[in-house]
Amino acid sequence: MIRLENVTKTYRGAGASALSEVELQIDRGEFVFLVGSSGSGKSSLLRLMLREEKPDSGDLFVLGENLRTLPQRRVASYRRKLGVVFQDFRLLPNKTVYQNIAFALQVIGKSRAFIETSVPDVLRLVGLEDKSSSFPAALSGGEQQRVAIARSLVNRPELLLADEPTGNLDPDNSKEIMGLLSRINLSGTTIVMATHDRGIVDQMQRRVVEMKGGRIVRDAETASYREVPSGSVEIPEDQS
């Protein structure tokens, strides 16, 4: 599903590489946490997967596409195959919940009939069928994030990228969102989630990829945020 081979990325004007020689494989159906402090490279990694940036070197395969060589004109159709959610929800304040979700389908030319069946379906999935005509300002943070998740799922992506989706939420709402993401993952969608939230990672017991200084320093199955449980592999930190 996702494979990074020796991926390096340096931003212009920045001294150190945002990512250096990253090797990573994520299989279909996995739920992977990307953890690490700010500037560790988690967001850069997500930006590469979204094809907002291209790697300087190395190959990056996502959903069967080599993103380093993917031509500009095919970026849009690539992005239709994945969903993405952010810390700040990114909802349109002048559109209702229904319209926000429908917007994502309208702009890629889906038919009215498709929109009229898909939007209520996905609203039911996130438990917001009774809020479809509310505006975002009238919703709680957790509800807004559920709308954003609904929007990212409405085109039935195989992969969901989540950048700090609980970053703006209180613990109860965070828990609710994680429950929703787990259900989505159970239905077969691969999820890659960058987070700072130690509690969530510890509680979920999923694969954890920890980054530091643009490198992967730990890749552990069913791990906690910081601990190294037995059976996982500690990747030694590069001292250079």
Binding site: R80, R90, Q106, V107, G109
Partner: protein
């Protein structure tokens, strides 16, 4: 994309950016008005030429006994000289340019002067001998008059050669000058219209950056992201073009067709038909300009 969805997006763009869109409409209106004025002036010029050049003739005035010695050193034209002039008119070098010609004797010239002038005429102070016998030459191609004039100018027995077209030179100069002025203003105005469209569309894109961000994330193509903005610029430009054509029609109908044309019937003024003939080009120019300007401004700012 669904047309009604695009229409709604365009409408929201125009509504949210109304004063800027209005300014595009107005600047395009003014610039395209000048463009179509320039075009109509050229049509007017064409009408004048077409109408009068056909009627304009070349007059080959022959020497009489009253011409100065400088012009006619050997006095009145001799028969041999006149035969030479006629021969020249029939020569293979000139035949392709000459449609018809006829000879007007001194008596006929005198008669015409009497007929034209009524009571107050130079004819009462002149007698036929003082007038020139004349060959009146109609050309098949009025633009080639120079050639014919030159051929007779130094011919012995010819007093002068006059091209009637030259009577129109001042008015043609005036119309060409006015065209140049209107065209220059139009160029400057079109340039500012293009810059204004670019700025306006960029602002419009900025005010909808959330939408654009989401469109990019969910995989809308660049073309479909740009389309509402291009349509926004296009609609504004077409409105401006429509106003320009409306203004032209108003002027032509009220000042030319209804008043001037009845007073100066010979002038063959431009009409509403000419305005409509120019309209597609004016609208097309506005449309191309708007699409290019908004396309370029969004291309630079909205690329995936």
């Amino acid at each position: 994309m669904n047309p009604s969805f695009v229409a709604r997006e365009v409408w929201e763009g125009i509504r949210g950016n109304f004063s800027m869109v209005l300014s595009i409409v107005l600047v395009t209106f003014v610039s395209l008005s000048f463009v179509s004025v320039a075009a109509l002036l050229q049509i007017q010029l064409g009408n004048l030429k077409g109408y009068w050049y056909d009627k304009a003739q070349i007059a080959i005035y022959l020497c009489n006994d009253f011409e100065s010695e400088l012009i006619c050193p050997s006095g009145a034209i001799t028969q041999t000289e006149q035969i030479a002039v006629t021969g020249q008119l029939k020569s293979s070098a000139l035949v392709p340019y000459i449609d018809t010609y006829y000879f007007e004797s001194q008596d006929e010239a005198y008669q015409r002067l009497l007929d034209d002038g009524g009571e107050l005429t130079a004819a009462q102070y002149l007698n036929p001998d003082q007038l020139n016998a004349t060959y009146w030459v109609s050309l098949s191609d009025p633009e080639k008059a120079e050639l014919v004039v030159e051929a007779f100018q130094s011919q012995p027995g010819v007093a002068a050669v006059a091209d009637q077209r030259s009577y129109f030179d001042p008015i043609i100069g005036l119309l060409n000058g006015a065209t140049l002025a209107a065209g220059s203003i139009a160029t400057v105005m079109l340039f500012s219209a293009a810059l204004l469209t670019t700025t306006t569309i960029r602002l419009s894109a900025f005010s909808r950056r959330r939408e654009i961000g989401i469109m990019r994330l969910v995989g809308a193509s660049s073309a479909s992201i740009q389309l509402p903005f291009i349509l926004e610029g296009l609609i504004a430009a077409l409105l401006g073009g429509g106003l320009a054509i409306g203004l032209n029609l108003f002027i032509v109908e009220n000042y030319l067709t209804d008043s001037l044309a009845t007073e100066l019937a010979f002038a063959n003024f431009v009409s509403a038909t000419d305005v409509f003939a120019v309209a597609p080009y004016v609208l097309g120019l506005g449309a191309i300009l708007a699409v290019l300007a908004s396309g370029i401004s969004t291309f630079r700012h909205l690329r995936t």
